[in-house]
Every structure is written in structure tokens, then in C-alpha cells.
């Protein structure tokens, strides 16, 4: 809030005000266009089955999917499946983030370790996480641990790679300055390395959050661990096509919410950083 000398709010300059109004109206127009796109999608799905291009058995019209969705929302089984998915997602993501940050900072802080581990990381990272599915089934069956194994493996690399990039980005002059002021290793990690790496860490967490959801649902779909994924598999085998579409829409919405949430957290934690603060308006 801009305040005048005597504590009364000064009116913002007219130019600024006009700019703000323009911004707000262009944002409103963009939102309206986006909503019209979504409405168009719903309308298209409603009309397509009647046009005879696709059979209603394969793609039911929107209103039947909506009815199925309301039916799903009324069952307790849906909510417990959603809960199972979210729990597996959250625990897996938390383990991967903590492990990724700790391992990344330890490796990044010690140059010898970085040289030693680079080849191994490059080797292990591209191994597709789904290769572990048979192993997870044998070791843990349909328990939550088999889902966790895949989620943690897939999202760990996302965090680790970003942390390593971030640690590499530390300004050598800042580091030397901290050194000459006699800061110890821990203090330098906290005051120099961590703030530099934080934007990268947040990018890693955002990517990992999306990957974790994909792997959680995939594991449930393929292995049959309880959750939204296995509910989709059940809907498929019992030929409840509208329910299947409704559940898939729920996973999509969940993905969008997780993306938005991760961006919000990023903006909150990095409000001091150039990339979020943006250019100062003059």
C-alpha cells in the first residue's frame, strides 16, 4: 500500500490505474475465452455420440458421464479410493523430495562426490520406473508399498537433478565471501547454497508432484493396489464406460489441482526471487 506523508492513502497515479484496469480486463477476457473452450469440449462430447461418428457405447455423451460422476461422488468407495491415491502420492512425494534434497546437497557440496556419482546418476535416471512393476508385485503384492516404490523411484530423480543444477549455480564470489567471513560448511549450505538452489528445488518439486501422481495412478491401474487407478480398472472390466470416463476426468482434475497448488507454493516460497517478483513497474 502506498501511503502519503500524513498516513493517508495516496491515490495511485492515473497511468498506473489505467494499466491495472487494462490488465484486469484482459485477464477477464482470457478467462472467458478459456471457459468457452472448456464448454466447447463438453458440448463436443455431448454431440459426437449422436452424430454417429463414434458409438455411444465407446464415448457416452457428457450428461451420462456427469450422471455417473455424481453417482461416484455419492459412494463411499470413491472417496476411500481418492484418499488412498492421495496418501500414496503424498507419502511417496515427501520421501522423494527429502531424499532428493539431502542427497543432492551432500553430493553438490563435495566436488569429489559429484565427479564420482555423475556417471551412475546418468545411468540410473533413464531406467523407466515401470520396469520395477514386476518386482514391486513380487515383493509387496497389492500393498501401498508397491505403489510407493514406483512413486519414490520416479520422482526422486526429478528432485535430485534439479538440486544438483541449483547447487552448481552458486555464485563463486558469494561462496568465497562467506568463506572469508569464516562461515563453516553448514552455515554456507544454509546461507549461500540453499537460497541459490531453492528456485531449482521448487521446479524439481513441481515436476516430481506431477510425476508422482502419474505413477501412483499407474501402479494402482496395473498392479491393482487400492486407489483411483484400480477403480478405473474395475470400471473397465465391468464395462461401466460412463463411470470410467468420470473417473478419468477426476484424475485429470486432480492433476490440474496439483499443478496449480505446486505453482502457488512456489510463488509463496520464492516471493523474494526475481523470477516471481517480476520486473518493478516504473
Amino acid at each position: 500500500m502506498i501511503r502519503g506523508v500524513k498516513g493517508t492513502p495516496t491515490p495511485p497515479p492515473a497511468r498506473l490505474l489505467a494499466w491495472r484496469t487494462r490488465q484486469a480486463s484482459s485477464r477477464a477476457r482470457k478467462a472467458a475465452l478459456g471457459l468457452s473452450g472448456l464448454a466447447g469440449l463438453l458440448l463436443l462430447v455431448e454431440v459426437l455420440p449422436y452424430s454417429g461418428l463414434v458409438s455411444a457405447d465407446f464415448l457416452p455423451p457428457t450428461h451420462r458421464i456427469a450422471v455417473a460422476l455424481v453417482g461416484e461422488l455419492a459412494t463411499g468407495a470413491f472417496w476411500s479410493a481418492l484418499w488412498d491415491t492421495l496418501v500414496a502420492w503424498a507419502i511417496g512425494l515427501a520421501i522423494a523430495v527429502v531424499a532428493g534434497i539431502v542427497v543432492g546437497i551432500v553430493i553438490g557440496a563435495v566436488p569429489v562426490l559429484r565427479a564420482l556419482t555423475a556417471s551412475t546418476i546418468e545411468f540410473l535416471r533413464p531406467i523407466p520406473s515401470v520396469a520395477l512393476i514386476p518386482l514391486a508385485v513380487l515383493l509387496y503384492g497389492t500393498e501401498i508399498r508397491s505403489t510407493l516404490m514406483l512413486v519414490v523411484y520416479a520422482s526422486f530423480w526429478q528432485v535430485l537433478i534439479q538440486v544438483l543444477y541449483g547447487v552448481q549455480d552458486v555464485d563463486p564470489i558469494a561462496d568465497e565471501t562467506a568463506r572469508s567471513y569464516g562461515l563453516g560448511t553448514l552455515a554456507r549450505v544454509r546461507c549461500v547454497m540453499w537460497p541459490t538452489a531453492l528456485p531449482y528445488v521448487m521446479t524439481g518439486v513441481r515436476l516430481a508432484a506431477a510425476v508422482a501422481l502419474v505413477l501412483a495412478i499407474t501402479a494402482q491401474l496395473v498392479i491393482g493396489a487400492p486407489g483411483l487407478g484400480s477403480r478405473i480398472a474395475v470400471a473397465q472390466t465391468s464395462n461401466a464406460v460412463p463411470n470410467m470416463y468420470a473417473l478419468i476426468a477426476v484424475t485429470g482434475l486432480l492433476g490440474v489441482l496439483i499443478n496449480l497448488g505446486a505453482r502457488g507454493v512456489e510463488r509463496l516460497l520464492l516471493s523474494w526471487h526475481q523470477s516471481v517478483r517480476g520486473e518493478v513497474l516504473v
Binding site: 477476457r29 482470457k30 475465452l33 478459456g34 471457459l35 468457452s36 473452450g37 472448456l38 466447447g40 469440449l41 463414434v54 457405447d57 465407446f58 569429489v112 565427479a115 564420482l116 556419482t117 555423475a118 556417471s119 551412475t120 545411468f123 535416471r125 533413464p126 531406467i127 523407466p128 520406473s129 515401470v130 520396469a131 520395477l132 512393476i133 514386476p134 518386482l135 508385485v137 513380487l138 515383493l139 506431477a210 501422481l213 502419474v214 495412478i217 499407474t218 491401474l221 496395473v222 487407478g229 478405473i232 480398472a233 470400471a235 473397465q236 464406460v241 470410467m244 470416463y245 478419468i248 484424475t251 485429470g252 482434475l253 486432480l254 492433476g255 490440474v256 496439483i258 499443478n259
Partner: protein
């Protein structure tokens, strides 16, 4: 001498891990974790040329076809959506929604339309890979340098040559980033679609081993899948550094001599 040290550093940890795995499982009587020596001796027995031809090759062909379709469709649609601001505003939420759907849940949907044959798997791979390419192309096209765009306009470069020389060129680093994401999604979908319903393929074979409790065979399959992922990512990086050599050179020049 310095090269020697670097090579030593690069191979030291893999050797340590390999030896640790070898010794750690040497006397393993855990049914699920067989000795590494057993897995390695099973490897050439299981993955014979015949097996590679009947199971690995079909998987790779399906991946290649699906991925190519996704790249072409993603870039074409992305240029279209990215070039018109209004189209972008209308479609952006819809595209974000489709990207947020975990790709493997497409398998049951596409099975409805395309049955369980090769078409289904190719469509699944294409439908999963297209989103990161499409959205990255949109971003790249949107961020075309305005000075370059104006220069093109004043030189009268329009139409196809504008797309080829200006739009695609300046968007290509972004497109490559999308293609890299799409490749790992493609590998995942290749395996998942075969685990669901197939009569051949890498994913199918590995699940078959697991169901028949042929544990060393299954481990050798996991190893092969890992090697495949590694090989494809190395291949991608080679192609990328060749195709985007101008971009990496420009970046290095901007950062100044170091």
C-alpha cells in the same frame, strides 16, 4: 593424467556398486533376489536373437511409429495454436486438462475404440506423447523474438518460409525439451500397453516371467529395459546436440569464455 583421473572417477562408483551387488547376493537364498551371477548367465539364454526379433523389435517399432505421429501432430498443432492468440486463449485450459490426465489411464479408453491389437498400442503411445510436445511448441512459438519477427515481416518473409525459418527454428530448443519428456512417457506407455493386453512385446514377456515365477529371467528383463531406456536417452541426446548445435553454441557465446 587428468583424463585418466576423470575416467577413473567415472567408472569407480559403478564398479563398486556392481561388486557390492555381486557379493551381496552371491549366497542369496532369497527367492526373489537371485545372485547376480545367475541373472547375468540367464541373460544371453533368455534374450536370444530370436527373442529380440519376436518381442523387442515389435515393441520398438510400435514406440517409433507412435512417437513419430506424436511429434508431427504435436508440432503442427502447436504452431497453429501458438500463432493465434485467441485460439490459444480458448484452448489452453482444455490442453492443460488433457496434459494433467495420467497417460496410462488412456489405455482402457483406447482399448474400447481400437481393440487390443497393434493399433491400440500405437495410438496409446501417440496420445500420451503428444501433450508435452504440443504445449512446449505453443510456448516456444509464443516466445519468438519480436525483433526477428518484425525483421521477417519487413523483408516480406511470410507463409511456409516464415514457419520454417523463423517460427520452428526459434521454437526448436523448447520443442526438443518437450520431445525429451515425451520419449520417457513413450517408453512407459510402450511397457504399460503391453502389460495390459498383448501377445508379444517386452512388457508382455517380463510380466509373463513374473507370473510364472521365472525370477532370474524377470530380472534379466528389467535389466534389458533399463539398458533400452539408457540407449534411447543417449541416442536422443546425440541427435539433439547435432540438431541444436547452433543453439548450444549461441548459449556458450552469450555466457562468454569460461
Amino acid at each position: 593424467m587428468r583424463v585418466l583421473v576423470r575416467i577413473l572417477l567415472a567408472v569407480a562408483l559403478p564398479i563398486v556398486l556392481f561388486v557390492a551387488w555381486w557379493l551381496g547376493t552371491a549366497n542369496s537364498d532369497n527367492f526373489y533376489v537371485p545372485p547376480l551371477s545367475e541373472i547375468l548367465s540367464t541373460f544371453p539364454e533368455v534374450w536370444t536373437w530370436d527373442r529380440l526379433r519376436t518381442d523387442v523389435l515389435p515393441s520398438l517399432i510400435r514406440l517409433a511409429v507412435g512417437y513419430t505421429v506424436a511429434v508431427l501432430a504435436g508440432i503442427a498443432l502447436g504452431v497453429l495454436v501458438g500463432s493465434y492468440r485467441r485460439v490459444r486463449a480458448v484452448l489452453e485450459p482444455v490442453l492443460e486438462f488433457f496434459r494433467a490426465i495420467p497417460p496410462p489411464v488412456l489405455v482402457p479408453v483406447i482399448m474400447l475404440f481400437a481393440g487390443i491389437g497393434d493399433t491400440m498400442k500405437v495410438v496409446v503411445i501417440a496420445a500420451g506423447c503428444v501433450w508435452p510436445i504440443l504445449l512446449n511448441t505453443v510456448e516456444g512459438v509464443r516466445a519468438v523474438d519480436s525483433v526477428l519477427a518484425d525483421t521477417c515481416k519487413s523483408y516480406g518473409i511470410t507463409g511456409a518460409s516464415r514457419v520454417g525459418h523463423l517460427v520452428l527454428r526459434s521454437a526448436s530448443p523448447q520443442i526438443a525439451a518437450g520431445m525429451r519428456q515425451a520419449l520417457s512417457i513413450g517408453i512407459i506407455l510402450m511397457v504399460i500397453s503391453e502389460m495390459f493386453a498383448a501377445s508379444n512385446g517386452l512388457g508382455f514377456t517380463i510380466v509373463q516371467f513374473q507370473r510364472s515365477f521365472a525370477i532370474p529371467d524377470m530380472w534379466s528383463g528389467i535389466l534389458l529395459l533399463g539398458l533400452l531406456g539408457l540407449a534411447l536417452s543417449i541416442l536422443f541426446r546425440l541427435v539433439e546436440s547435432w540438431a541444436l548445435a547452433w543453439y548450444h553454441g549461441q548459449r556458450r557465446a552469450q555466457r562468454g569464455p569460461s
